[in-house]
Subunit: 263 residues, 2 copies
């Protein structure tokens, strides 16, 4: 049974996709782990970020939104395509998710559709990561109900910390009202700019007070090579394996895996 | 009759709120213009960014989502509160917008609800700016149908340029299918980091080719004072009137107003 981790926060542009893609690649490559990256954001940016390593074997069977809307018991597995990164599969970007979200929210148990479509898929992988859109709509709720853990990225800005707070509130509602034992795996600090010390220390203090132990030890520094890798369509480990961004994400991957094992 | 400008793109975290707040403040303060900033994002970050200058005169009558859901002809004016910035009013952040979006999309002419709630409001202001959430859902569609122009912020990253593209496609559909003469006021380059020259020039080339004339001349450089101002809850002009961020947004405001007058 795979660990299922949602990468989510209400705030936009804090590194949900950059973190999902590079964590998935780091945890797959060179290990015996099989990892599935699910792109639940209609923007389809996981696919853009991995376009150079996708092995599009004549396309998968169905698209993600068709699987989620279907009344037959389809599995997300049907939408997974392999990549040239050993052990990493990904679902292709699906603009149809935007329109499908309204129709999914009309279903009975609207939050449980993805969970049910992962019943068999979970047995094929060691880890499933779900990249979420920047809101707490029905798709993000589906990711939270399908997941055991949620990883919350935030950069060191007041608006992003507020967004992470809003997601934590949603997690508490999911636990209490829907009785789903979702845990916060951690809060990961992204786009950390070493030069803006005063602003950082003020925000870091708020973060430490609010989340203490939950803050991942490994921070992700600001590093243009991460954006360059996205331009080329490959994980940071292919683009610049020795740069700071690659080291930070490799260390974060180890910390994430250790927390998943230890929990 | 006010000019109505939506500030929108599908991509998260590119500076929609930072641009909306600072443009609204720059175009109001010290001029005879009356400006209304509408926060159409359930995150409510315009309010966070202006918390120190809000003059909460015992709160306004209704919240924005109540006005949009009401069957009586309520006006957005009922939700506008003054600030200590001369000429600037703002609608308070409204988390209820998230849940209301589903109910608004059930209405006949779901995209026209905001436009109808601005009929009288438009006569009270010279400019109305609408900060949009990072998606192309019903709330963003309402902003596009209420607006005459749309300003599209993007930073110099491949994913953001793709997001701006997706918004332009939505604008074309709004023009063709809904026969609404929405124009693109411009594409504004945000968070421009002077140190990352190689990546920037590659992206800039794509942007120039795709949007040429539409790209605003004034770029907004990366400047931590903008995030510091948000932490304090005031526009950049109050926090650090002579910093680069303030100069860039003042110049952008002049360029935006010139385009609005010239069009
Ligand atoms: N550590 C980093 N250093 C430099 N740039 C980064 C870093 N992390 C992310 N970025 C850049 O910041 C932008 C936002 O990142 P990303 O798209 O992953 O965020 P997101 O939370 O997935 O956004 P959205 O809310 O739109 O889904 C991208 O342009 C990305 O290249
Ligand atoms: N020019 C700039 N220099 C430095 N930081 C900036 C700049 N513009 C925006 N920021 C910071 O970048 C982050 C994203 O900006 P902002 O929240 O305005 O984007 P947004 O597009 O409104 O995001 P969302 O999609 O979540 O609504 C914020 O933390 C903000 O402080
Ligand atoms: Mg993303
Ligand atoms: Mg915003």
């Amino acid at each position: 049974q795979a660990h299922v981790v949602a990468v989510a926060t209400v705030k936009g542009g804090v590194g949900k996709t950059t973190t999902s893609v590079n964590l998935a690649a780091a945890l797959a490559d060179g290990s015996n782990r099989r990892v599935l990256l699910i792109d639940l954001d209609a923007q389809g940016h996981c696919t853009t970020s991995l376009s150079a390593v996708l092995e599009d074997s004549g396309q998968s069977g169905a698209s993600l939104h068709e699987i989620l809307l279907s009344d037959e018991e389809l599995e997300v597995l049907d939408a997974a395509v392999p990549t040239s990164i050993e052990g990493l599969d990904v679902t292709l970007g699906d603009p149809g998710l935007a329109d499908a979200e309204g129709r999914i929210s009309q279903k009975i148990g609207k939050e449980l559709v993805l969970r049910d479509a992962l019943k068999i898929t979970r047995t094929h992988y060691d880890l499933i990561l779900i990249d979420c859109p920047p809101n707490k709509g029905t798709l993000t709720l589906n990711a939270l109900l399908a997941a055991d853990q949620v990883l919350i990225p935030t950069d060191l800005s007041p608006l992003s910390v507020q967004g992470a707070d809003q997601l934590v509130e949603t997690v508490l509602t999911v636990r209490d009202r829907l009785q789903h034992p979702l845990e916060v795996l951690g809060v990961v600090l992204t786009r950390v700019d070493g030069r803006t010390v005063t602003l950082n220390s003020e925000i870091l203090e708020t973060i430490e007070e609010a989340w203490g132990e939950l803050v991942m030890e490994q921070q992700i520094g600001i590093n243009t090579r991460l954006a360059q890798a996205q331009l080329k369509g490959e994980p940071i480990f292919e683009h610049a394996p020795d740069c700071r961004g690659a080291r930070h994400y490799r260390a974060l991957a180890e910390e994430v895996w250790a927390r998943l094992q230890g929990l």
